[in-house]
Amino acid sequence: MKLKKKTVMLATFTVGTLLLATTALADIASKSGYDELKDALKVTAQQSSETFDSFTLDYSLALKDNGKTLTSNNETSKFDRLKGASEGSSSGVSLMGEKYSSQTYSDKMTMIRVSDGDPTYYVTEFTKEREDRSFTNPFKEDRADDLEKIADAIVGSLKDHVIVTENPDGSKGLAGSLSELQIPSLVNAVASFQLKQEFNGIQTQMPHLTKDVFVKEVKGTAKVNKEGVMESILGSAVLSGKDEQGTAHDISIEVLVTMKDINSTTVTKPDLTGKKVVRNIAQYYSKSEISNPEKFVGKFKNDILIEKDGKFVKVGQRFIDITHMENKLVEGRYYEEYKPGFEEYATSTRDIEFSAQFEKDQRGNANFEYTTESGGKGQGNLYIDDFHGKVNFNLNNRNQSPRGGMMFDSNFTPDLD
């Protein structure tokens, strides 16, 4: 009897262990629909940024209030990875009810833009080949792994809501839907609060939901072809609530993205013959040195003002005369000239010579020391603003403490007269 009890116990324990081990392994090995969805997204991003020569992406979005369209947007983007070129067109209706449409084209050397409202082609030409940034893989970003883990944790028990159907040709269909009962209350509350704030922050055209706001439903379907690339994904969500007057609103948002013409998309540059074209050369403002610095050699000026009898009166002018400028160095003279009758405003620092070195990696920024006519020493700062074509010039913060009610402006504009 004793032996029998032990045997039964041992057997039960073994069966339990086996049961646990095998199902646990099976459970880990089995892919949930959510995992399939993630894999498809990864494969698609990887293939389109590294393997496909060209493809077309269609993106459309519609926002509806009780079935009435509030705003819609359609975008078609064509990518040619070999040429590093892309072409895009976008059209839709804005929240204000205005229709719009525009086209863009971009390759390594040019960027062209045109819109319906203004038939002028704006062409930006680049002097150097640009890096190809037509399509980058978002899963290769630094934080992608961490974000994926966070997303997994948030999705948690909702993973099993994605259903996979396999078609005989090897393609797959993914579908999922969540009703209000299935969305965890906390997630629902946070999401609806966020959406409510977002909608109420913008235009009056949006219904302002104030009461009983909740996410009613979230749905999605996706098609994955036999190579594992996602060909289309359709998502929709319904936010329900009441406005101030107590009218019920169901605001729905639908997004459809399709990928097509893989390796058979052609990107064509728009034909500009006979069109109104505005050309400009791209400036590389992000570089640390100013391109062709010689253009800054010359005089810059601004007015010295005082306030008298409730009006501004010009008492004189300040000048900067840049005599020499190169990538590292700027030299010149600063002086003030007063109009007849206002000579009493002139002070001892009114005429100085300066020679300033540009600070390393600080575009257009230079500090200098100076000696006045009377032998006093001081420090100053100069900033060449080639974006606006101006020079910013300061002496010992003198601009902040006006002498005798004089107003100094530290911005100098070119004296081109």
């Binding site: 646990l20 089995s30 809501h161 209000e180 009962l181 609060f193």
Partner: protein, 250 residues
């Protein structure tokens, strides 16, 4: 069978006489009241609906199975074993002409009945509160899913109880068992967050397995797998627990 019945009635009587059960009932009702107040606050303060009449019981369940219920299951299980070991009342129980196996089973069944009772009580009150205080969103389908969710929550909770019983037979002091259980519980929770792809084999994740019954498509394979994992771990915990209990000298 009559012997087992007598032992079970004995165990239930002991459980029933303890203040802990009353505290558990009061706390369960407190969860409902606090939850309902929070919903009302969210609704008037932020303009959100918070929860509809049937989302409310689900909200209560999601909080309850992860906090109050495991805590009181642990207390009841510890009381039933460690409590009797330290108070030496176990000897009195064992002097009866009942085999140790039957006593062990009776104790487990009593704990199971406690869990079931707590779940049913919570179900009734949260559904009532949900219907009275919240905008109606109930359909027959969602109502039956709600009831089902409450009932299936019994299984993972029973496995949890078996785990605690095992611990109670390893450690002598009830307080040690209590703290070790809490530490293991929290560790599992954290592990489930970090290794979310393996989380389905952890007991703490299975506490939320009622969510599977809410899925529209009814993921049968997944439910079976989860059930078998719970069954397997339950069998292991039960036999090990009983083995230790059987060997114990009083």
């Amino acid at each position: 069978m009559a012997v087992f019945q007598a032992a079970l009635i004995n165990e239930i009587e002991k459980l029933y006489k303890k203040k802990k059960v009353l505290v558990a009932v009061l706390l369960s009702l407190a969860v409902i009241v606090i939850g309902q107040l929070a919903i009302v606050g969210v609704r008037s303060g932020l303009g959100l609906r918070g929860a509809g009449s049937l989302e409310f019981p689900m909200l209560v369940l999601s909080v309850f199975v992860n906090t109050v219920l495991p805590l009181f299951t642990a207390l009841v299980a510890i009381d039933s074993f460690s409590g009797e070991f330290t108070q030496h009342t176990m000897r009195i129980t064992l002097t009866r002409p009942v085999s140790r196996f039957k006593i062990f089973c009776a104790k487990i069944t009593a704990i199971m009945l406690f869990i079931l009772g707590a779940l049913l009580l919570l179900l009734v009150f949260s559904v009532l509160a949900g219907l009275i205080f919240n905008t109606n969103s109930a359909t027959l389908d969602s109502f039956s899913r709600t009831i089902f969710s409450y009932i299936v929550s019994l299984f993972p909770m029973l496995v949890l109880a078996l785990g605690i019983v095992l611990l109670a037979n390893i450690f002598k002091s009830g307080i040690t068992v209590f703290f070790v259980s809490i530490i293991i519980f929290l560790t599992f929770k954290v592990l489930g967050l970090i290794f979310s792809q393996y989380s389905s084999i952890l007991l703490t994740t299975q506490l939320d397995w009622y969510n599977l019954f809410l899925v529209n498509s009814f993921p049968f394979a997944k439910i079976v797998r989860q059930f078998l994992i719970m069954l397997g771990s339950g069998m292991m915990l039960f036999t090990t627990g009983f083995y230790l209990y059987d060997k114990k000298e009083f």
